[in-house]
């Protein structure tokens, strides 16, 4: 009996241990430091939290003392913090990072030696000029023509209760494990960049910069910082913080190669400071959406005064001071359970246009609920305020329109037509793995995938079939291209061309060598298993055996980025931007080493001694010389017309290469919310990808009590909402 019990409990108890140990792993960070760091000289981290608090306090004291001291003796040591009347003079006195006697420019007086050295080493990229050098004829823009997208009716206060499926492994926003679901609360919903893209138009609105201007060369943008901009620790945002952003983002201590590359010196050529509020950034090439690309965020230099090999460890559970309204207080981190964010009482942008009436809740409580269906039950109980109902079964079956909570006026179901490039749900075929190295097999495979049935039966016709590799980019998307249709005849025809002619005993095609046409389909989406099950059963009709391999999402992603898959079903969320990206997923440099043309022979085919490149997003291992050349051209191009034409050509070429089986897209977002949550009249900006992205909703705590009370008594409330459809931004396809 004992054994029976013991084994019986095994999976569950161990699962608990498994998760516990995950968290233990978070606290006891054993990440490797970069080799080049002399870790021996780092201070030991005994009694870390205590030591850190003390140091922070001492630093603060020193700062205050220094300011007082400076005021008193009136010296021009030149900390921007200190309000000195003679500051302007010092700035105009000299340009360049150092003066004749080798002292740093006043704007950089606070920088540590390591940081200064970095700037000096890259003198071309980091420049200080005087305000007189600023071009006089700049056309400053400040977004004043744009409309606000929040509602003047918004009420401040209350707690927004939401959930995440896993406890964050870190509060860093960069570096290993930082790219988790919680980061959106620290960054996406919270951060303010130099200039923000307006979510309802093609224009921009001010962020850290109150005005901006495009330079003559088309590659440089000038910014004038908002003098009010502050970090959450009260420190002002300084122009030199944008210097520091590059120092920080290029640091190898971050262990974040994507950021190293994104902020690389081949992309951002130059950054120039003119005075404490004025700067310009120069990009490597002119782009139609330059302002958007160049609008980086500021990294608080004062916070990272020691950026070393212990970066990961030291900042694992500390939130970087933010320019946004929400902060995580130490006492609000409940390991394994929840993280709560608190709104700053004196946020600098509180009353500014485009920021007022947004970020309304006082607190954001993010609980860990691992199982989505459990989260849904919690939502129905009223312990979560909003819930995404994009999945068909949630919308139709689990919370039907005649559900008691809806009909009694407690809950509202919303369909909102938005305008964003859809996440690219698609099958990506690894063209380097047999049998997919044969184009006929790839085309046959495309015809063997019955997405129409999936759309009709599983998604009930609510979604549409995606057409190309780059849907949803307006004119940049190919106008006529269609995904290949399911057809047993066409599929078997192409498979036959590749030598798979006869059906075996089980109906699966075999070739002359007796090999079955069987491929492995990898995915990390457990919740979409039924889609794959339908595809698998339908593929059998075409004589194709699909073996499903459903892993944890991280494991699946790893397998695919190591290019160990045959076909992977995955989706990349698309950036809301003007034109699609082709380099990451389709350039040969992301498929094989060596880079460039060396990997091709003279006739354009691939050499045999090339090495597969891992950890890139080229899941299809596309390496076609013609595509490469077009992508190179596409990336260099600065005219929108040319970009459009190239995007069309590329879409067509990749379609012909048949490595991407387009899945589906949905033209709307669907969600449900309790009626104590309120939204603006239009519900939200057209570029909303989820209900919280632009933080325009508000929570009415009085109404929460009212609804709670009504639920207890079963009283019906005035159901003015129920089911709502917002079609303002609907596009007729």
């Amino acid at each position: 009996m004992n054994t029976a019990k013991k084994i019986n409990l095994h999976p569950f108890t161990l699962l608990v241990f498994f998760f516990l140990s995950l968290f233990a792993g978070c606290e006891d960070n054993t990440l490797k430091k970069p080799d080049s760091i002399n870790s021996g000289s780092q201070p030991q981290e005994t009694a870390r939290t205590m030591g850190e608090a003390d140091r922070e306090y001492i630093r603060e004291l020193a700062r205050e003392f220094a300011q007082e001291f400076r005021k008193e003796i009136g010296s021009s040591v030149g900390d921007v913090n200190a309000d000195q009347p003679n500051k302007e003079k010092t700035f105009t006195e000299f340009s360049g990072l150092l003066d004749e006697s080798g002292n740093p420019h006043p704007l950089l007086a606070h920088c540590s030696d390591a940081v200064l050295d970095f700037y000096l080493k890259h003198k071309d990229a980091f420049q200080i000029s005087s305000i007189n050098q600023l071009p006089k004829d700049l056309q400053w823009e400040d977004g004043s023509k744009e409309n606000e997208f929040s509602s003047p009716d918004a009420k401040r206060g209350g707690t927004w209760k939401t959930f995440m499926s896993d406890f964050p492994r870190t509060l860093r926003t960069i570096g290993p494990d930082a790219n988790g679901a919680f980061r959106r609360y620290l960054l996406d919903y919270n951060g303010v960049g130099l200039v923000m893209t307006h979510p309802n138009s093609d224009g921009y609105y001010p962020g850290l910069a109150e005005r901006w201007a495009l330079g003559e060369d088309g590659r440089t943008v000038y910014f004038q910082l908002d003098g009010d901009a502050r970090y959450s620790d009260g420190q002002p945002v300084r122009a030199s913080d944008f210097f520091f952003t590059f120092y920080f983002m290029r640091s190898k201590h971050l262990q974040a190669p994507w950021y190293n590359d994104f902020y690389g010196k081949d992309k951002f050529l130059k950054i120039t400071l003119f005075d404490e509020n004025t700067l310009s950034i120069t990009y490597h090439s002119a782009k139609p959406d330059l302002v958007e690309r160049i609008s980086i965020r500021s990294i608080p230099e004062h916070f990272y005064d020691e950026l070393g090999g212990d970066y990961l460890k030291k900042y694992q559970w500390v939130q970087e001071p933010t320019t946004g309204p929400y902060v995580v207080r130490k006492e609000d981190i409940k390991k394994g359970q929840s993280v709560t964010l608190t709104r700053l009482s004196n946020w600098w942008a509180d009353q500014k246009k485009f920021y007022r009436n947004r970020y309304n809740p006082d607190r954001i409580m993010v609980q860990v609920i691992r199982d989505p269906s459990k989260a849904f039950e919690v939502f129905l109980k009223g312990d979560l305020d909003m819930f995404s109902l994009s999945k068909t079964d949630y919308w139709y079956e689990k919370l039907p329109n005649d559900h008691e909570l809806v009909s009694k006026g407690y809950l509202t179901k919303v369909t909102f037509f938005n305008q964003v490039p859809p996440p690219s749900y698609a099958l990506r075929i690894n063209s380097s793995k047999p049998p997919f190295d044969d184009l006929n097999i790839r085309i046959g495979f495309q015809h063997a995938m019955n997405f129409d049935l999936v759309l009709k039966k599983i998604f009930r016709g609510d979604f549409e079939r995606m057409r190309t590799v780059a849907d949803g980019y307006g004119k940049r998307s190919h106008p006529t291209l269609q995904a290949r249709k399911f057809s047993v005849d066409l599929a078997t025809k192409f498979f036959a061309k590749a030598g798979y002619r006869d059906r075996g005993k089980d109906g699966i095609l075999i070739n002359d060598a007796g090999k079955r046409l069987s491929v492995e389909l990898l995915t990390g989406y457990k919740h979409l298993e039924d889609v794959l099950v339908v595809l698998r059963e339908e593929a059998k009709k075409a004589g194709l055996d699909l073996k499903l391999k459903i892993l944890e999402s991280t494991a699946a992603f790893k397998t695919a980025s190591e290019k160990n898959h045959q076909v992977v079903f995955s989706a990349f969320s698309s950036f809301v931007e003007l034109f699609p990206r082709f380099w990451e997923p389709y350039h040969s440099d992301n498929a094989y080493s060596p880079s460039g043309k060396e990997k091709f022979t003279t006739d354009g085919s691939l050499r045999s001694d090339i090495v597969v490149k891992t950890s890139t997003n080229n899941f299809t291992q596309t390496a076609v010389l013609e595509i490469d050349q077009l992508i190179d051209q596409y990336r260099m191009e600065d005219s929108l017309k040319e970009i459009t034409s190239l995007a069309h050509q590329l879409s067509k070429l990749i379609h012909d290469h048949a490595v991407y089986v387009p899945g589906w897209k949905k033209p709307w977002l669907r969600m449900g919310h309790w009626n104590w949550v309120a939204f603006p009249e239009d519900w939200g900006p057209s570029e909303s990808r989820d209900y919280a992205e632009f933080q325009v909703f508000w929570i009415d705590e009085d109404k929460r009590l009212l609804i709670d009370d009504a639920r207890k008594n079963g009283r019906k409330l005035d159901a003015q909402f129920g089911v709502r459809v917002y079609e303002k931004h609907r596009i007729n396809f």
């Binding site: 029976a4 084994i7 699962l15 079964d393 599983i458 298993e529 099950v533 339908v534 009709k541």
Partner: protein, 357 residues
């Protein structure tokens, strides 16, 4: 190894037979398992017999018959339910006989234009226990799931006992240092986290392995990390038996260790182990179901009870028939196994049959 049924064992078996509840549970379980072994004849999308233009076909087993064989316009496997309608319609003297449940556990029955999953149980559509999310027949999945689960449990029983008996009798019989170190090894091994290993090993299992391979390797993994529990019992039982006179007698006659363990000790030890067997089976069934429930078990879309339970729990409100069928089947099976276990324990109760000296 030959285990003769000595009078004592016969008496135990008789006693087991006289415990009616356990005995009938045993018969029922055995019957269900044997029946599930030929499930293709009862629950299958393929017809039992097709009579087409003067020829008889028996599609239940063997290679699939493409549609064009029966004058249909496709080259993939015949849809016999449709064929039946067509035969009926044309009335050319062709006919076919479908099994009582004309579905297999993998196929989606998307026939009506508006069916989008979760059809409730209905006699008319022959979905006796309704369908699941992708319109697969719940009963078909239950039956095939039972076959896999039960075979899995029996395999698990056999292998864990094999390992445990070998290790336990070696430790118990030789004792001393071998026991001392061996037992420590067993303890260390039993502390290797089982679920970790399953997760890791399942994720590295290559997809091109066939289903049988995947299931057997899952079985092996589970056995490897859970045989240790039984070792302790075997060891202590062997220890106890070893001290008895008959062993000493055998040694005096000059029997070797192997012979003593196999011929003399094991038959006596096994009788006590048999009482654990049904509970091990129950544990194996619930383990594999739990693993499937968590998503680390059998590869999709293999029919499995855990997967059904998961679907049922996720769709508790919309499709209560899934969870009730799956839970009902699980409870029923585990209850029967427990009844068998109880009966065996009572039948083998040492208080009744122990012999001293």
């Amino acid at each position: 190894m030959r285990i003769t049924l000595n009078p004592l064992t016969l008496r135990k078996l008789q006693r087991f037979r006289s415990l009616r509840r356990g005995y009938w549970s045993f018969i029922l379980l055995l019957g269900a398992f044997l029946l599930s072994l030929c499930a293709e004849l009862v629950v299958n999308k393929r017809a039992l017999i097709v009579y087409y233009e003067g020829e008889y076909f028996f599609p239940s087993y063997g290679a699939q018959i493409p549609g064009d064989q029966f004058g249909l316009d496709y080259s993939y496997e015949t849809n016999y339910r449709e064929l039946k309608q067509i035969f009926h319609h044309r009335s050319e003297g062709n006919w076919l006989l479908l099994p009582p449940v004309p579905y297999d556990p993998y196929e989606m029955d998307y026939r009506e234009t508006d069916s989008t999953g979760f059809s409730p149980p209905s006699l008319e559509s022959r979905h006796l226990l309704g369908t699941d999310k992708t319109e697969r027949d719940v009963l078909a999945r239950l039956v095939y799931g039972f076959r896999i689960t039960f075979a899995f449990a029996l395999g698990y029983l056999f292998l864990t006992y094999l390992l445990a008996i070998v290790a336990g009798s070696v430790l118990g019989y030789f004792g001393g240092k071998i026991d001392m170190f061996g037992l420590r090894l067993v303890e260390v091994w039993s502390n290797v986290p089982f679920l970790y290993m399953v997760i890791i090993l399942v994720s590295v299992m290559p997809g091109w392995w066939g289903l049988t391979w995947q299931i057997s390797s899952l079985l092996l993994i589970m056995v490897l990390f859970s045989w240790t529990g039984m070792t302790y019992y075997v060891r202590s039982a062997v220890y106890k038996e070893k001290a008895k006179d008959y062993v000493a007698a055998a040694q005096v006659i000059g029997a070797g260790s192997g012979r003593i363990i196999l011929r003399h000790l094991l038959p006596n030890v096994i009788s006590t182990l048999v009482t654990f067997a049904p509970f091990t089976v129950a544990a194996a069934i619930s383990s594999i179901t739990a693993l499937d429930f968590l998503g680390y078990g059998l590869p999709a879309p293999t029919p499995s009870w855990g997967e059904l339970l998961k679907q049922g729990v996720n769709n508790l409100r919309i499709a209560p028939w899934i969870v009730s069928s799956a839970a009902g089947a699980l409870v029923l099976t585990l209850t029967l196994v427990t009844f068998v276990g109880e009966a065996i324990r009572e039948a083998f109760d040492p208080k009744k049959f122990s012999t001293y000296q």
